[in-house]
Amino acid sequence: MATVVVNVALKPEILDPQGRAVLGALGRLGLTGVADVRQGKQFVLTIDGEVDDAKLAQINEIAATLLSNPVIEDFTVEVRP
């Protein structure tokens, strides 16, 4: 079994109202000095067997089409043994 983690985040130039709301809450909870909060999504895929190059390419394709919207989001793919 292997784990593949796909992280999706809004592109820096896209406004993140949810992150901004969290930032507001941090201030009320007494955590100061936080300049910005950006909220994203994490997908943890548990894969049967090995993650070979073909499988990884497939996951990258899915990350670019389903898991993220390339118009507004960036993603990273990380394989964990």
Binding site: L15, L66, L67, V71
Partner: protein, 230 residues
């Protein structure tokens, strides 16, 4: 033959019945299409209705774009089939890359439900041809993720090519860039709009009948193209 306008129902669609009714009130025949349909039943145009397709999980419209019927619809759109996406339908169109940009969380985070004034900015698309540029209309708006965003280059291009079909007037309800409420593609056959013209087609239930213009526009366009007669 009366123009046949398909309305696609996804699991979680809400406004498919209203869209079908608007088609009929405008004088067309509405055809119910299902998300799992393998073909478009030879319709002359398609409406993607509002709602929460597939629960809006992941992103609004993101899962709907992989529905079997959408594969046919994307090909048909490229062939010139008229398509109107309303609210969630607009989100499906941007997720499917049939229209540029994306719809994101309202900048103030609240779900908004109000009657919204718009200014019509394009009357060359097949869905807006019955309007005049500068017409002010009042139709319902109800969304949580209706903020239209795109990069500056895309926004400039939309404006430069006259592809913004309607802009919010008086108040920008969701943080949409440049007050954009609706856009069309270059060919003018695919239109997406965040507010709901199909809820403003009868005095009894809507604030106005201003929304009817979108549906009479498409029927007239189809007749003028010689595709159908009335």
């Amino acid at each position: 033959m009366t123009p046949r306008v398909g309305v696609i129902t996804f699991p979680g669609s809400l406004d498919d019945k209203d869209a079908a009714r608007a088609v009929r009130l405008a004088g067309g025949e509405s055809v119910a299409l299902w998300h799992a349909d393998a073909d478009l039943h030879s319709v002359d145009a398609v409406v993607l209705p509002g709602g929460f397709s597939y629960g809006d999980y992941l992103r609004c419209g993101a899962i709907a774009k992989f529905a079997p019927v959408m594969e046919k619809l994307v090909d048909a759109a490229k062939g010139g089939l008229p398509i109107l996406g309303i609210c969630n339908g607009f989100q499906v169109l941007t997720e499917s890359h049939l229209l540029p940009g994306a719809l994101t969380r309202n900048d103030h985070l609240h779900f908004i439900c109000r009657d919204q004034k718009l200014r019509i900015e394009n009357n060359t698309s097949v869905w807006t041809s019955e309007f005049s540029i500068g017409d002010e209309i009042l139709i319902p708006l109800k969304n949580g993720e209706g903020g239209y965003v795109a990069d500056e280059k895309t926004l400039d291009q939309l404006e430069g090519d006259g592809l913004v079909i309607a802009r919010y007037l008086d108040v920008n309800p969701n943080g949409s860039r440049r007050d954009i409420a609706g856009i069309t593609n270059e060919r003018g056959n695919v239109v997406g709009i965040m507010p709901h013209p199909e809820h403003a087609v009868e005095k009894l239930t809507g604030p106005t009948t201003d929304g009817l213009g979108f549906f009479t526009s498409i029927l007239k366009s189809l007749v003028n193209d010689g595709k159908v007669s009335v």
